[in-house]
């Protein structure tokens, strides 16, 4: 049973991630007053990307991409959803915090081979941005862990069963809100898409990706969408034992993130960091203080 989860949970995560990617394009299109692509479009894109002849820039380049994807897939295994959590026993939220750094590292590794100035700028932006959101993120996770006195994500979910959602509990309301604010930053969407910023640095780290590499990066992106949102659902919306419910919760949160995406332009790097350290961090800190106080 556990073994099956090792396979099913990444696959489900992938399906949901891809679906969300398709959906995001539809929803954005609607706000743009247009129809947008079919929901299947990301899959079509993947098929195409995999069928392309691809230029490699050396073994490190390849390893970086794979590392990034592997790290993300590994991360899935630590996240409880739909009653599944293949690696629930080992470390929980702390491990998640740790593994989350893999993906940007992988990108940095492969990007370094690309010899394109846009990439190095993009990567430095990515790290600065991570610095921006990691601070509130750690604070949020800390607050959650402290509140529920556990480092296990599964336990956090369990503690919130029967609608004792953390988001609506007084101490964790502020960290929850802070999490919503940093979701765009974690997903790399507006107003925090400065790392990829196509109009500024030609999609930054991905500038030299093409074909299969880009496909892998897209898959990684699909996973990370899922992970980011699933974490929120787990920590603040009580997760769910049912895949469908879980998915619905993910959907709602994702759409909220999308709406932020739709109505703001992009931050400049220092503005982004300033914002992230100012509002979400303060809110998360306040939450932590409250949690510690009670």
């Amino acid at each position: 049973m556990k073994l099956a989860e090792f396979i099913i949970s990444p696959i489900l995560a992938f399906i949901i991630g891809i679906f969300l990617m398709g959906l995001s394009r539809r929803i954005m299109a609607r706000i743009h007053r247009r129809y947008g692509p079919p929901l299947m479009q990301p899959v079509i894109d993947l098929v195409k990307l995999f069928s392309q002849r691809t230029v490699s820039h050396g073994p490190i380049f390849d390893i970086g991409v794979i590392l990034s994807l592997a790290g993300t897939i590994a991360l899935i295994l630590f996240i409880p959803f739909g009653g599944m959590c293949p690696l629930e026993a080992s470390g929980g939220l702390l491990v998640i915090l740790y593994i989350m750094l893999f993906a940007p590292l992988g990108l940095a590794l492969s990007g370094g081979e690309g010899a394109n100035p846009n990439i190095s700028i993009g990567i430095s932006r990515k790290f600065i941005l991570s610095l921006g959101y990691e601070v509130p993120f750690i604070l949020i996770v800390l607050a959650v862990m402290t509140y529920y006195h556990t480092i296990s994500a599964v336990d956090v979910v369990k503690a919130q069963s029967s609608f004792h959602w953390a988001l609506f509990s007084l101490p964790l309301f502020l960290p929850g809100l802070a999490y919503i604010l940093i979701i765009p930053a974690m997903l790399g969407i507006r107003p925090f898409d400065l790392a990829s910023a196509p109009q500024e640095i030609s999609s930054g780290p991905m500038a030299e990706y093409g074909g299969k590499y880009l496909a892998l990066a897209e898959i990684e992106h699909a996973f990370s969408i899922f992970i980011t949102i699933a974490l929120f659902v787990d920590m603040f919306l009580g997760g769910s034992g049912n895949v469908v419910y879980f998915f619905l919760k993910v959907l709602v949160v994702f759409i909220i993130g999308l709406l932020i995406n739709a109505v703001f332009p992009r931050f400049r790097t220092e503005q982004a960091v300033k914002f992230l350290w100012k509002w979400p961090s303060v809110m998360a800190l306040a939450g932590l203080v409250i949690v510690l106080a009670i």
Partner: protein
């Protein structure tokens, strides 16, 4: 320091580059140390081509200097030829010209809105602006027979009279645009992030703006009330009642808001045009194009394009084709002098931001 210095080529193949232009940036981290604009990707040698074509053959040619807003180019050419050949344009043609100038200003500003917002990564208003502009292109098509290159303001007047029911369609469009303005306001112009991104960026003092040859929004964004339409009214602008919007900031924010306010004024001018439109003929026949010779002489004419003063220095040596034509395009100075200056010390995230707030259009630089 030298180690961390990177040379970054911005464009020509670049999502952030509207038009085919390239800027090489010397960057350190996110800061630009120096910038050098490298134009010429669109250089076709228009002024040379014009020397090979006769007065009428040049008329479809010149509008291609600026694909986004071809009207002012057609207009200066028509005005220059009229002034050299001494042609009087019928009154109605003046009004129609005013109308199409303002339509094209509106269309150009909407394009600018698209470009500017998408440079900021803000797709929503960008998509709206481009979508709304398309209805204007439909109107252009109705009036002139083409969406982009209208080839309509010809020496002697305009090429065809207004089609039936055109005024009503235009009015309907203007009302629709006016109805959409609150959306643009709330989503974009009143967006805090737009303020954050644009205010203080690309700041230029009024003195510098004048000394470096700035026109249009560059001056008006510094609080200088300068507009050829008022300074030296051409077409029917003398009869129109409008204001010159200005802002004091001198930064991208001010310039963009000036553009916005100008759209409001354009809508008002268009409505006045429809109201006051006189009847009569719209085209004073010019001599047969194969024989037409224009007496020796020279002239400089200028109009206020969407981006500033658009001028044409036209010399005739008495032949059937121009002896020399030289366009004074707003983007030439804005793009090659002011842009380079403003980019110094700017953040690389703001290259497109500054470039588009200066309203730089590459083909106009290259010609």
């Amino acid at each position: 320091m030298a180690e961390r210095e990177l040379e970054l080529i911005f464009g020509p193949q670049h999502l952030g580059m509207v038009g085919n232009l390239s800027i090489s940036l010397n960057v350190e981290g996110d800061t630009i140390l120096s910038a050098r604009v490298n134009p010429g990707y669109l250089h076709r040698g228009f002024e040379k081509l014009m020397e090979y074509r006769n007065w009428i053959q040049n008329f479809p040619l010149v509008c291609r200097i600026n694909m986004i807003e071809s009207e002012p180019v057609e207009m200066v050419y028509a005005m220059a030829v009229e002034s050299l050949a001494g042609i009087e344009v019928p009154e109605r043609a003046h009004y129609i010209r005013t109308m199409i100038q303002e339509m094209s200003r509106l269309s150009c500003h909407l394009t600018a809105a698209w470009a500017y917002t998408s440079i900021l990564g803000f797709d929503t208003p960008a998509q709206w602006a481009m979508g709304d502009r398309d209805y204007l292109l439909d109107l252009f098509e109705e009036l002139t027979g083409a969406r982009v290159y209208h080839i309509y303001n010809m020496p002697g007047g305009v090429r065809r009279d207004l089609p039936e029911g055109f005024e009503d369609k235009l009015l309907a469009f203007l009302d629709a645009v006016a109805g959409r303005l609150p959306d643009y306001n709330s989503t974009f112009f009143e967006n805090r992030l737009f303020f954050e991104r644009a205010s203080g960026i690309g700041k230029i003092s009024a003195q510098d703006a004048v000394a470096l040859g700035g026109t249009g929004q560059v001056l008006r964004g510094c609080g200088i009330k300068h507009d050829i339409r008022k300074l030296e009214p051409y077409a029917a602008y003398g009869d129109m009642d409008f204001e010159i919007p200005t802002r004091e900031g001198g930064d991208a924010f001010s310039r963009v808001l000036v553009i916005r306010d100008e759209m409001v004024q354009s809508v008002s001018i268009l409505k006045q045009c429809i109201e006051k439109m006189p009847s009569g003929k719209v085209y004073e026949k010019t001599p047969n194009p194969f024989k037409w010779k224009i007496p020796k002489g020279e002239t400089y004419v200028r109009v206020e394009s969407a981006r500033g003063e658009f001028g044409l220095y036209l010399v005739s040596n008495g032949g059937n084709r121009p002896y020399r034509a030289h366009f004074k395009t707003p983007s030439f100075v804005h793009g090659l002098v002011i842009l380079e200056k403003l980019l110094q010390g700017a953040n690389i995230a703001d290259v497109g931001n500054i470039m588009l707030s200066l309203y730089v259009i590459a083909p106009e630089i290259d010609r």
